[in-house]
Symmetry: none
Subunit: 223 residues, 4 copies
Amino acid sequence: MPLSKLINAIPACAAPRRERRKEARPGELLEAALDLFVEKGYAATRAEEVAVRAGVSKGTLFLYFPSKEELFKAVVRENLARTVTEGASELASFAGPTGEMLTHLMQQWWARYGATKASGISKLIISEASNFPELARFYHDEVVTPGTELVRRVLQRGIDRGEFRDVDLHYTIHAVMAPLIFLVMWKHSLAPCCGAGNTIDPEKFIAQHADLMVRGLLKEKQP
Amino acid sequence: MPLSKLINAIPACAAPRRERRKEARPGELLEAALDLFVEKGYAATRAEEVAVRAGVSKGTLFLYFPSKEELFKAVVRENLARTVTEGASELASFAGPTGEMLTHLMQQWWARYGATKASGISKLIISEASNFPELARFYHDEVVTPGTELVRRVLQRGIDRGEFRDVDLHYTIHAVMAPLIFLVMWKHSLAPCCGAGNTIDPEKFIAQHADLMVRGLLKEKQP
Amino acid sequence: MPLSKLINAIPACAAPRRERRKEARPGELLEAALDLFVEKGYAATRAEEVAVRAGVSKGTLFLYFPSKEELFKAVVRENLARTVTEGASELASFAGPTGEMLTHLMQQWWARYGATKASGISKLIISEASNFPELARFYHDEVVTPGTELVRRVLQRGIDRGEFRDVDLHYTIHAVMAPLIFLVMWKHSLAPCCGAGNTIDPEKFIAQHADLMVRGLLKEKQP
Amino acid sequence: MPLSKLINAIPACAAPRRERRKEARPGELLEAALDLFVEKGYAATRAEEVAVRAGVSKGTLFLYFPSKEELFKAVVRENLARTVTEGASELASFAGPTGEMLTHLMQQWWARYGATKASGISKLIISEASNFPELARFYHDEVVTPGTELVRRVLQRGIDRGEFRDVDLHYTIHAVMAPLIFLVMWKHSLAPCCGAGNTIDPEKFIAQHADLMVRGLLKEKQP
DNA sequence: AATGAATGAGTATTCATTCAT
DNA sequence: TATGAATGAATACTCATTCAT
């Protein structure tokens, strides 16, 4: 048996974790990167940190992603993909009043996106938009526009069914969404520092926001 | 005109170098730094860039600010100082219905802060909160808390005067403010990239938001 | 032979770059740093120079030592470690007259420390003591005090055996050591500049010093 | 009265110290520089510090000395000049035994040079010799050589008068001087850091050294 | 595929020196 | 003369990226 084989044999038995799940690597790296990018921002996250958190070496990271920038883009794309198209299907089967529908939509959005780690990428996008305009556009097209459309359809339903006043859709949509976005930004910026004394309970906040919105949208009761 | 004259003419108008303006320098540097930090973020802004934009050399920057970090903090403090306590006085003399008062407050906030360059520091704070928790707390104490109090007083006035329903103040306050914050974030992140086709007119957006809020807050008309 | 071949031939022999020698690196860097620090002083030695002399790049230096200051400290510790406790053991078995013992001690000290490159760190410590008081204390504790003790024991032996007069140990110790320290300082400062015409031969100088010391210490012959 | 005169008149009454002793400036700067160079070394001393300690502005320093290097050289030259030629005259009239003469010489040297601030430049020279070889040579020629000659003449006197043994002058001279140099180095390096517990009283040390030297030099008493 | 030692371009910061006032 | 604001060359240190193993 040649010496070279012997040398290669040593790490083989000492590293049982390395052999399995080669195709899992990119996912583990993306997850580690998501954590760190969200926590520290793009520039303050070092490539090696990501690698270490994913349990691999620095070199391996660059085996899967050609650069830190591409890693960042992949993190964003990966996590945006999850968000898109969820929730739309669910609403199709909703039969109750549109006010309840809108409230439900907001609550679901928080439960399925806002409350998850993935919401950190919304914060990332907004923080790094000027340095990664391409990503900002991607986010706009893949998340903002579809989300906008979803809300538009709900509002239109309320108007069509005579429940809501005939409001300006464009600005009402944003008035509906803005507090949700705010909640995500808050969670990933000031909340961790200034939590004590000014805590915002997301569910209660959304409930209050939804109540105000629906009341503001509903046609006034006829006497 | 000989070439030598042309060459000499260039530095003549472009180089009033080595001026003595100790008084003005800090302000010029802070302004240049605000522009760049808002535009590119903290990490992506190079100290020398700030100096050059302020029309001085690298060394001069460090003559006035001991480090990039202190420059950043100074930018934040400088611009927050302006914001704080503005607007509060104006409301004291307001005599009309609280719904109009609330609408007016929001519109003035935009006109005096949101629409100015200084609003970029709200975006900065939120983007860099995890890297500068000390600043985040400063912002929270100096801006968020006073702003919150201002809105609370207006809402309380509406309730006390029997105009508004007896809502949960804590969450209503944030429901009022969230779209304003959203507007600032939007302006400094996605708007510059994805402006075409999805423009938000701040005044109209605030008007719509205020209308919805006030309608949601007003007691229902008694038949 | 075409020019292109010649050009290619140069890097071929001059660049076995990117070798992997993690074990050897710290030692090579410490040696290079010792040379340069001794030759030029702490401040006048640039980190990159050290790296280049060790045959690596700037980055590699900081891979092994977190800062120039730590590199300096490591150089000092590394070279002091060798010195400490050497020589002490040898004297234990010495059986002759204490005068010879003292002479032997001084000669050995020169041969094993003074004459080597490592003696440069004594000069370093003394030159940089005010900038690195921590190191000065380290040197004092690890080198000066043990050395002092060694000499003390020898002198005490001479007194106990009735060979030496009952001198004040504290000051005699320093009188014994001072010319040795002087020799080291001389070698690393004026000697390289002003060698011609005023050369000091260390062995002869120590012999003369030892002779004078021993004569001064010995009890006067009884008639 | 023209405006320019008025302007000039203002500092004239506000700065009473500035007008007097223009010719004292270089001296004050040299003194401040001596203090700082001795205390912190050449590189660690900033030009502005020197100026501030001398009570002038940075610009003024460069008005009198074209560069930091020249300032350093001037400091050395200035203080060496004081040292040279002192003491020689005094010895000419000494009439007692050469042993006492030698002891006296050493004690005087300490009192007039070693104990003063100026002795710091010996430490400076030795510390910076490799970076300022020109200064090292200057020091060698102006201080070491004359000092050596002085000691040589005393030793020669002792031999000529039959008091001292016929020792090797070259090495004995250095054996006499080395502890004095050592004392100066000690005072300006380790003593400030490690004073506690290992203090060397210079007068006592010199006394002990002189006693040992003289005993070592004296011809053995004839029975 | 995986490693981690090595690289070097890039950046904040210092400080001797200049010069308009 | 004297000032001190301004300069910019110099330097320690970082970190994304490469590549021999």
